[in-house]
Symmetry: C2
Subunit: 281 residues, 2 copies
Amino acid sequence: MNFKQKLEIIIKKNNSLLCIGLDPDLEKIPNFLLKKKDSIFEFNIEIIKKTHDLVCAYKPNIAFYEAYGLKGLSQLKKTVEYIKYYHPEIPIILDAKRADIGNASKMYAKSAFGYWNVDAITVNPYLGFDSIEPFLEYKDKGVIILCKTSNPGAKDFQDSYVSPGIHLGSGLNRTPREIVEPLYLNIARNVVEWDKKYKNCLMVIGATWPNDLKKIRKIAPNMYFLVPGIGAQKGEAEKAAKVGVNKDKSGIMFNVGRSIIYDPYPRKKASELKNIINRFR
Amino acid sequence: MNFKQKLEIIIKKNNSLLCIGLDPDLEKIPNFLLKKKDSIFEFNIEIIKKTHDLVCAYKPNIAFYEAYGLKGLSQLKKTVEYIKYYHPEIPIILDAKRADIGNASKMYAKSAFGYWNVDAITVNPYLGFDSIEPFLEYKDKGVIILCKTSNPGAKDFQDSYVSPGIHLGSGLNRTPREIVEPLYLNIARNVVEWDKKYKNCLMVIGATWPNDLKKIRKIAPNMYFLVPGIGAQKGEAEKAAKVGVNKDKSGIMFNVGRSIIYDPYPRKKASELKNIINRFR
């Protein structure tokens, strides 16, 4: 079973497009958990116990574990193992935004899909097709390419108007000095081409840019999108759900981290958000 | 003492612009070391013992440690501690190509400069200024921004002709639909602006693109560059050294990994490369 099949089964089973970001910050974790040995892992378990029937995926951002060094990372390992054991039907997305030149990207792919044993990973396209290919070669796994990120700085370079071109490691068909589209759209267009061969591409598009989301949906009518920014980042859930879905009213995951996991009632909050998304899709 | 001061002292002391990439691959490590418990760490120690008076920096690429999970990462920790203890004058660059939206980038910066305790880190600019700022705020540390990478895929997006703009989190002065320069040059121009405030920026430029290196040196006459691609990647050391140095015949580090660390005589090979670089700078 490949990543997309796994995702589609859980979306139907839980009737949910909600992905929860497991991004634990020791400064925000409740006191009673901080006293435990593996407080990050214990915190994650609490969230998973309360939400596993409301989600279509869990997405730990590895930055929040790396910050605590080997101790933090060992608790990510335990968290992944816990989900794989108790909820093997729920896909795990490692939010790592990795990419490097060929041989190092191979090592990152080996880490994500071998060691961490997750179902999908987020990757950064700046280094080009050959930096993403080592991930794509794991055909049963999902490769989620950053397209338009949810932060304000996404405008800095992703919005630059660029000359066109499709890049498949087989030469360039660029037309220099002719401007056609913003960089993020050119990347979306490339990802669509890559997906024709590998069939395991997804894209990250921030809910903070609903107009851009609409344009990308036009280019990639059937691709799954991972959409952050409807929670703490105050993205417009309603507008994003309306313009972001595919023709089957699916094809999208909304990631919410902080505004669920630090809510005093995470289950209630997750349920509310799941329903809001379902109402507008 | 900040990163650049530390770097300049060792460049003079060892009369070297050579940075060695500590990128251990268990498939290439000699058999007698594989039998040891911490074979990656033991391999690194061998290289460091043989080369510490020939280098201006060591650059472990974290991908090669992540591939082996917590066991690999614990040997990266030991390697950093070993260098800090026996050769505290040699800067350590964590090649991690990190970046994320604000709060996650803060966690990555905390990881690099807190937990890993390295002197500098490589970062990816695709997410914009606000994704790099959390690293820049560690003013004594070096922040090495990917500009033009050494791989063939660098052409895919980094060479796109773009509309201009300088981005400092304070609004855009972009002129849409006017094309001026390739994306990597626009990023270089932005990094020069960021450096005016933070004074701790460096850039990565592959030796595989000597003409681009020359253009970037024009824009950033005084900045330090990290230049990979003269070893296994067959970049042109001679041309890169000639066009890449600043007016003091310095301002550049040449990274070499595989072609030194897997050579049967790493010290001899490192010494040769150090001398070739010095001859042409």
